[in-house]
């Protein structure tokens, strides 16, 4: 085979001016700040909701056990969501960049499979706990009204939950799964390249 073409010298001709090192460090800090801010925003909103639920419990003095169980379930759902987004997901998404390419690819495939499972499971658990909690919480207060009122409140709530579960949630889970699956397929394809000849 011809070795006349000096690929190395052609390769070395490509150069780019290096940005100032302070620019790189500033970008690193900016990225850190952005990802921290995103997590904190989610934490603050959910924490405030938990506080509001706790205050309802404190001020309205619910008498029925169903109300207390309902509030507990809703608070638990949010706590689980906060723990997952703050602790579990970043931990799972952390790939060791210092390892070799082969191990890195296998690690990425494992991470993506876990992410898919966690996304699906946590979303389902969160939504079910929230729905059941809301349903139980309403029993005490709705039972004080007449049957038309009861029918209306339950009807509206159930419709709202059904739209969320069957349309919004199902669509977002499907979209997320599709995106993760595409990545997994591509990563597996690249991983197969490692074992095959060219």
């Amino acid at each position: 085979m011809s070795t006349e073409i000096d690929f190395k010298s052609l390769w070395g001709r490509e150069k780019a001016s290096a940005p100032d090192v302070s620019e790189i460090l500033a970008k690193a800090n900016r990225l850190n700040y952005c990802s921290r801010r995103k997590i904190w925003m989610c934490n603050i909103v959910l924490s405030l909701t938990i506080i509001v639920l706790a205050m309802i419990w404190w001020h309205l003095h619910p008498r029925l056990i169903t109300t207390k169980i309902g509030l507990t379930l809703m608070i638990c759902a949010m706590v689980i969501f906060i723990i997952t987004t703050n602790q579990l997901s970043p931990l799972l998404a952390k790939a060791d960049m210092q390892t070799d390419t082969n191990t890195f690819l296998l690690q990425m495939i494992r991470i993506k499979h876990k992410q898919e499972f966690i996304n699906k499971t946590i979303t389902t658990i969160y939504f079910l706990m929230l729905c059941v909690g809301l349903g139980l919480y309403f029993i005490e207060y709705i039972s004080r009204g007449n049957w038309v009122f009861q029918l209306c409140v339950y009807g509206i709530t159930l419709t709202f939950l059904a739209i969320n579960w069957f349309y919004i949630n199902a669509r977002s889970v499907r979209k997320q799964r599709k995106a993760i699956n595409e990545i997994i397929v591509k990563l597996e394809e690249v991983n197969r390249q490692m074992g095959s000849g060219t």
Binding site: M1, S2, T3, I5, F7, K8, L10, W11, G12, R13, E14, K15, A16, A18, P19, V21, I24, L25, K27, A28, L31, A95, M97, Q98, T99, D100, T101, N102, T103, F104, L105, M108, A179, E182, I183, K186, L187, V190, Q193, M194, G197, T198
Partner: protein, 156 residues
């Protein structure tokens, strides 16, 4: 080793590896910057278990592969397009053509040939990629064969 020294010494090397992977100068610069952000973050954990070059190239190669994850989030219209201009047979044209050919190879081959052209020893490439030395040798031979053939077709 001080970060500034690493940055000065390895910027163009890392940039070229990224460029070989995507054949898009702006995207390659962004990827090189991301690689150095990772290097900066990981530097306190560097234990001298491998040569600093091997360590840097591992991070660069893995960062290139992370593009798989990022590109899937991009709308199709935002995908970087490879240079399709007709380029002349002068050195500049040949350089562009080389990067275009490399970016069209399968992902792992892009990384392997980029490291080879960056004068990284085959034993080091094996450590960076996790392949055996003999496998690396065979792959490099076959990739060079492919590139030579493409250059022959391009010149005629």
């Amino acid at each position: 080793m001080v970060f500034e020294e690493i940055y000065k010494h390895y910027w163009n090397k890392v940039y070229r590896i990224c460029m070989g992977y995507v054949n898009d100068a702006d995207l390659a610069k962004d990827m090189a910057q991301e690689t150095f952000i990772n290097i900066w973050k990981q530097l306190p954990n560097f234990r001298n278990e491998s040569a600093v070059g091997t360590w840097i190239y591992r991070i660069a190669a893995n960062n290139c592969l992370r593009q798989i994850e990022r590109l899937s989030r991009m709308p199709k219209s935002d995908f970087p397009e490879h240079v399709e201009d007709v380029v002349g047979p002068d050195k500049e044209g040949q350089t562009k053509f080389l990067y275009k050919c490399i970016a069209e190879l399968p992902e792992t081959d892009r990384i392997i040939i980029s490291l080879e052209l960056e004068d990284v020893k085959q034993a080091e490439i094996a450590k960076i990629t996790g392949l055996s030395e003999s496998n690396v040798r065979v792959k490099i031979f076959r990739i060079k064969e492919k590139l030579t053939q493409k250059f022959k077709d391009y010149e005629h």
